[in-house]
Symmetry: C2
Amino acid sequence: MEASLGTAQVTGQGLSNSVVPVDHPGINELFALLAYGEVAAFYRLTEEARMAPDLRGRINMARMAAAEMGHYELLRSTLEQRGVDVLPAMVRYAPALEQYHRLTTPSTWLEALVKTYVGDAMAADLYLAIAGSLPVEVADVVRSVLAETVHSQFVVAEVVTAVNASGRQRSRLALWARRLLGEAVTQAQFVLAERDELVDLVVAGGGLAQVTDLFDRLQRTHSERMHHLGLS
Amino acid sequence: MEASLGTAQVTGQGLSNSVVPVDHPGINELFALLAYGEVAAFYRLTEEARMAPDLRGRINMARMAAAEMGHYELLRSTLEQRGVDVLPAMVRYAPALEQYHRLTTPSTWLEALVKTYVGDAMAADLYLAIAGSLPVEVADVVRSVLAETVHSQFVVAEVVTAVNASGRQRSRLALWARRLLGEAVTQAQFVLAERDELVDLVVAGGGLAQVTDLFDRLQRTHSERMHHLGLS
């Protein structure tokens, strides 16, 4: 995760408003969505890593994928503690997440790198957006996952070097990144349209007045990330 | 790892003969071989997991793959502490390991499961065979890796059920397992023929009088594993 996303916002004690009750049904739905997201990301990363030009790239991607499974384990054990039958709960989110990945299959290693970085950061945004309004014990899970989201940093240097060397590559990857954001927002809207519990969770959270704020935030942090990658 | 492989043999204090000096060049070679093996296993597991009939199977394979990367991290940091340039050291073992995987590409989910289990156990055997004769600080690395090799246990129940239901499946998988062992031994022999440091390490170790003992041991523990899987 980038420093600019502001980990302090979730680690600061004073920001845990806890307006959402610990048994809010949206919490289980959110964790199930994130859990499927981690497993889907694991498999996509490892598939896309086949485009890596060398062993170093393949190992970096494998490390990131392994970290996704670490997040998954945390979400799974939390869901189990909350009495949720994990696999059926996760499977509901398969269509939206698989569709996102299908529509954003990279065709080059640089596209794969940008997707990895942007996807990781969008997930971090989502965790961050809701962490402040969650009950303390639940927010701790989110925080633990966020604290580990540093694995995509290896992407930055490689992308920056490539786009500094080629204006055409820069334009290409900037368009690609925009498409990643667009498809993610589309799928997020599908998910919210089908899952009232999730909309309730976002609305009930003290951190966000409205669902649209979530998308505004995604757009804003996306622009910051494009800047870091040399794509703006 | 199966209980019958006897973790006690490496955890027992009295068995650390330490006849091999801590700077034996074979130790770096062994760790580089194991490190490449973990990364190769990571990618093969995730590829073969695509044959999984359900999300549970895919998640089990992803967990195992993530554990391989955990082992890799341990080997990498140990190699770095020993002043080894990790990637070039690993790459030397790519041909043998990639060839093993190419020659043992499973065609069914059950074959993938058996390969996962047998491969994991063969790696454990290899770690175990040399752990007793390594200097304490190096043996600790091997022990840490071994201690985590429990992820393939999910395979057993599924394979046992399948072979109990079908004698044909039993014969098929027994042949497959034999082929896995054969290809592993062939590749191990290629590696030893090219790397005198590794032969020296095996021979110098107090645990094994000769290199042939290593292969005898592999054969013996393989038979035990076949029994556990209902394939003997």
